[in-house]
Symmetry: C2
Subunit: 471 residues, 2 copies
């Protein structure tokens, strides 16, 4: 007789329980090929379940090929349904949640590039979100075009022309899943293994990784307080493109003057290369308006990357890539084979958010708050470290860089600092040629309240001072 | 005197107008290096704007390097700010909206894989969306981990165990931006240029493209009404993986019996290759429950891909990839360098949608509707084409395949059919070895109402009949 333990307290339907257990026994060989099963009437009486339960379980097993039915003689185990070494391990492997998830609430993290998350305009966004999900046309719920919603590209082209002097038709825009995807698209679009990319040094390490993954070689050009030292561009080089952060160099914080921009453009004309402009946070320029883009000066040679991660929220994963006309078609295809398109409704919500003026109001509001936090951080640094600190790159964005002449930010020192409940990241993490910025660290302040900034600077000072005392 | 036309009717602030025009004239050489500018007092009087406007415009130009200020003698045009051949073309290039956007409202498109978009549970989704955006913790608006929200992975692992017999820990799941991204991740994770992938033939052409992009060779194995003919797996081959759609073969519609699944597993054990299982729409199985996954039989060798595009909406762009333990860390990195992570709030909304039972209710509801549409389509085909049509692969999903013995679906015939206001796609679009399925087409019915189905079948019949008549 076939005995199947039924557990009515489980959330698993009886049909499924009967099905799973018979299936299991066939797979592991307990029920053997050609073995006859009890009739549905017998089994239902035995297990005290309705005959329908057994009928449906048998039907599913017949459909999947575990059983065969022979007219007039009953139901049998099918051949070839035994799987060697089949052990059904429903227990989960012993995996911990990954480290990134572990949080230390007491730690003050001067991580760069994080906006003030508690000031995300959640009420407005929730309201727009509700409206759009309710009111959009059904066709919006289908597959869309890879370059993104026309509504968003239209309003974005206007916004960027007005605020950044970006000169583009909406059809030159590809909406991406954050700036990171824009960077991988640029890499796939332009780079082959033998190519060279000219980059500022230092520059975001993740971006170096993305370009290196294509097999390209990175050629570093040093950076000073104004950004890339364009007078040091290599003479005998045919780069595929020059990657630059002219509005706000990351991490050192300079803004590239017009003379260097013109040198860049002339260089790119001579070497026939592209310019890839990453404009990640220039909305938050504390002296005057955002600087006009390089793209507006040479729109058929510049690829322009922007993001809503800093001005709204990284969780949105919305960025954009603006391309010269002749690259658009290839980029649309690459986007399609990456993830088809960026989620449609999120794009519509953002378009409405910009269109109704919420974005500009939010930026105006946040610029005041960030300026206040920046000024307070500078004040704390100057009063705590007095003349031992030099501060760089504070005109724009959500971070600045400090130089502490007597410190050498090795892994050991950074670990030591973290034991004091404060985390900072070294400029050296982002250098291509190592060793030039050993005494500089990046302090992101956008997400920190004044009391955290003050406490963080004090802890940093204590950590460094105690170490000197210890030695 | 410097004359700048000011237009107060424009949406551009006066400061910006003054700034832009001076900038423009320096770039194009109308204002030359070392030329002296009027004082702010003079220019404001001349243009009849407040002096502050001129002061701020000058400040911005000084900050960007267009002007220099010489103490006591005034403001001058800086050197090196002239750009040769600079023509500021604010006019947009003449680009039309792309073709995908053009719609013919009268066309009945039997495109496959489109759910009933008008039945998306928009009210529930809007409500959950509103709640989540309003109530989630601020930290959710920050950068997240690449594998996705724990809430979604947790509920998904339970849901998949219950409905599909997928056996995984939540940490084996990587949430992706749709199944397409899962496929590109698999490609990057496993394939090198010299590798071979064994695939069903026919199989979705986009998937062929994704794997071929890595440089790998595709080895086709024919498909019959039950799916891949596993007895034809090549003897002397070391594939990197076998790609299969065992729950519902695309496009031919078969469900792989247990005997073939076991052959596949034994083959993969012998050749030490992976199995990549794409389970894109098995929720809609009209006879019985979804078939249990291959993953549940051999979880350390199967990579399992799923998607919410068919059961909810493609516009969400949410899918998932379930991996053997030893591949997780590499996959997390690849996801990070693709787009960091999938939008966080969308994941939370979906998790809540599943957790509160809406997903299962929606699937139950839609399964009835799709079964009705399928039955009606079969009815229309049989009454219209009578014994000239064979119908395949209708047990599951949102499409079926028909064979019309007398037709040869060339590009010309398909164009001819479209002139009758109906669009169908040929199986041959998805074949690796060409020519075997010339008389078969795919009919997607999930998104079509009964009257559209009826009219579509009539138009298809008329088109084919009229052509025979014409020849």
């Amino acid at each position: 007789m076939l005995w199947i333990p039924i557990d009515r307290s489980l959330d698993i339907p009886l049909i499924r329980q009967v099905y799973q257990q018979i299936r299991e026994r066939i797979l592991n060989g307990q029920l053997k090929s050609d073995e006859k099963l009890p009739s549905t009437r017998e089994l239902s009486a035995e297990l005290k379940v309705s005959r329908n339960v057994i009928l449906e379980a048998y039907d599913q097993l017949l459909a999947e090929g575990f059983l065969v039915s022979r007219r007039g003689s009953g139901t049998f185990v099918a051949r070839g349904a035994f799987l060697e070494q089949h052990e059904k391990a429903l227990s989960f492997p012993p995996l911990d949640w990954c480290e990134d998830n572990k949080k230390d609430d007491n730690l003050i993290n001067f991580r760069s590039g994080i906006p003030a998350l508690d000031l995300f305009p959640r009420k407005t966004w929730a309201k727009l979100s509700y409206t759009i999900w309710n009111e959009t046309s059904p066709s919006t719920f289908g597959y869309d075009i890879p370059e993104g919603r026309p509504e968003l590209r239209q309003i974005l082209s206007q916004y960027l022309l007005k605020t950044r002097g970006v000169d583009c038709h909406p059809n030159q825009i590809v909406i991406t899943s954050g700036a990171t995807q824009a960077l991988t698209l640029v890499s796939k679009l332009l780079l082959s293994p033998e190519d060279t990319v000219i980059m500022e040094d230092p520059i975001t390490n993740d971006i170096q990784t993305i370009f290196k993954t294509s097999g390209a070689t990175l050629f570093p050009v040093p950076v000073d307080e104004y950004g890339m030292e364009t007078s040091l561009l290599p003479l005998n080089n045919n780069p595929k493109f020059i990657f630059i952060t002219p509005s706000h160099q990351f991490p050192l914080g300079g803004t590239l003057p017009i003379q260097r921009r013109i040198q860049l453009i002339n260089y790119s004309r001579q070497t026939n290369c592209y310019l890839v402009e990453d404009d990640y946070d220039s909305e938050f320029r504390y002296e005057g308006s955002p600087v006009s883009s390089l793209q507006g000066l040479e729109s058929d040679r510049v690829l322009y990357i922007g993001s809503f991660s800093k001005i709204l929220s990284p969780a949105l994963r919305i960025g954009y890539l603006i391309l010269p006309l002749h690259l658009i078609e290839k980029c649309r295809k690459l986007k399609w084979f990456s993830d088809l398109h960026t989620p449609s409704l999120n794009q519509l919500i953002l378009a409405r958010f910009i269109d109704e003026g919420y974005l500009e109001r939010h930026i105006t509001k946040m610029k005041k708050i960030y300026k206040n936090r920046r000024d307070f951080l500078i004040h704390c640094l100057e009063t705590t470290f007095s003349n031992k600190v030099n501060i760089y790159g504070y005109s724009t964005g959500l971070h600045l860089v400090i130089e502490l002449n007597e410190a050498h930010f090795t892994k050991e020192l950074l670990d030591w600092i973290e034991q004091f409940g404060v985390k900072v990241s070294p400029v050296e993490d982002h250098t291509i040629e190592k060793g030039k910025y050993n005494n500089r660290i990046i302090l992101g302040y956008g997400h920190l309240k004044n009391e955290e900034i003050k406490e963080g600077v004090t802890r940093l000072h204590n950590a460094i001072y105690s170490l000197k005392f210890k030695n």
